[in-house]
Amino acid sequence: MSWISKTFSSSIGRKIVMSLTGLFLCTFLVVHLVGNLQLFKHDGGTAFNVYSHFMGTNPIIRTIEWGLVLGFGFHIYEALMLTRRNQGARPQKYVANHSEQNSEWTSRNMGILGSLILIFLIVHLYNFFWRARFGGLDKIGGTDVETRDYDNLYMAVVSSFHVWWYVLLYVAAQFSLGYHLWHGFGSGFQTLGLNHRKYTPLIKAVGYGFAVVVSAAFAAMPLYFFLFTDDNGQLTSAVSPLVHSLTLALK
């Protein structure tokens, strides 16, 4: 099987793994974002808790979860291997290098952006995923027989997002994610050879839109709880009438 190992240890082979895992992780972002939008539902967190219980217990989701672990693992591993090769390719730097005149900052700093995202990911997983999976969360309680034994992840979210430095970390991480996607989305297609003068401008535009929408929507979550809700996730009285009228208007 040496042709397989040769393929995936070549510079292009490694880039192809980077691109496939990167685009796969983009699909994860969509699922994660759409699910988390339930945080904005004004039901005391019921919908979000039911959703998170489903995600934590459904056997299909739990299986796909391993794919996600592998996706992150290979993306990070290949990034390290490629970075090592690339740094070895130019051991002596230029005295004067004006790369800002021929390329974008985001494109040249994917490693730094990715590392920032990784730091965020570790904090994020520890705070929510780890507690949801291995205990440490309160139960919902109440009278509903079906849901009273579910973990109350919603309250963990609410309390975390009332800590100022935690909110700051989340928003900063979304900037890193946004810039990472700004280059990464289109770059993934280019690496797979999917470049065509008709479609590449469209792919790039979709990538830029994807980067902005996904990172802004994720950043909106901690900001929303920090700025507009009390310790129980209820809207503070100042914003409550506004949201109420908006909800009525949407109905």
Partner: protein, 261 residues
């Protein structure tokens, strides 16, 4: 003395030049002053003036690569003020003219920096890594005859044009020099796409891309991060589309060739 343009005023410049006596020696930036440089000189002619001065003073002239001085041979290779071939887009160093600079400017001149392009002396680098990549597969083995024989094979105009665009690569190495990763993929992709597009190159297209990419990796060039600085600095405008074609060719070859090694 300002050449034929009466409005062109001669310039005095400060040059920060990389001096390195031999491949293994420690190099450093040395400052030189050049006077009465005509704006109509090419950058290399300005360096000729510097070398004349140095010779008159009994000092070692600055070594730099050059040949045709017409922008077609790909020999000249200077990293000028932090850019491959200097500040002007779509230009080789020999076609960069001093009118792009102003009197009193300080210009930093360095060699291409890549592990795969070892420095011979001063600003001159050894780009034989490119030759070895071409030797690995950048050719067609069949005898295609003379021009009349070549024209016997009908090739659609748009295909011929695209192959020609890729074929304009002069192998100067500006792409490697500009790339953050010192990647040679724009250079390799230009040859791979040129030959993959043409019927003459079709016969060996799988072994070609496999062997050329393998040699590129052996030479120690970095991997492509799709940053685009290579295409932005390419004096002949080789586009990133070629790298996508290279990736496609590589994937297809690896998946379908009979090569198990």
């Amino acid at each position: 003395m300002a050449g034929s343009n009466p409005n062109a005023k001669p310039m005095n410049l400060t040059l920060n030049v990389w001096r390195q006596p031999s491949p293994k020696a420690q190099g450093k930036i040395v400052e030189y002053q050049v006077k009465d440089i005509s704006p109509e000189m090419s950058f290399l002619e300005m360096l000729d003036v510097l070398n004349e001065d140095l010779l008159h003073k009994g000092e070692d002239p600055v070594a730099f690569d050059h040949d045709c001085r017409e922008g077609i041979c790909g020999s000249c290779d200077l990293f000028i003020n932090g850019r491959s071939h200097g500040p002007e887009k779509g230009t080789t160093t020999c076609q960069l003219h001093m009118r792009k600079f102003s009197d009193g400017d300080t210009i930093t001149i360095e060699p291409w920096r890549a592990n795969s392009f070892p420095i011979n002396k001063d600003l001159s680098v050894d780009r034989s890594a490119f030759d070895r990549i071409i030797q690995a597969g950048g050719y067609v083995s069949v005898n295609t005859g003379g021009a009349p024989d070549g024209n016997e094979i009908p090739i659609p105009k748009d295909i011929a044009d695209r192959a020609f665009e890729a074929a304009t690569c002069i192998g100067c190495g500006a792409c490697v020099a500009a790339c953050k990763n010192a990647s040679a993929m724009l250079f390799v992709s230009a040859k791979v796409s040129q030959l993959a597009l043409l019927p003459q190159g079709d016969v060996e297209r799988k072994t070609r891309v496999e062997n050329m990419v393998a040699q590129m990796d052996i030479e120690g060039f970095g991997a492509c991060s799709n940053i685009g600085s290579c295409a932005a600095e390419c004096p002949v405008g080789i586009s990133l589309e070629n790298i996508a074609i290279l990736n496609r060719e590589f994937l297809t070859a690896k998946a379908t060739s009979n090569n198990l090694a």
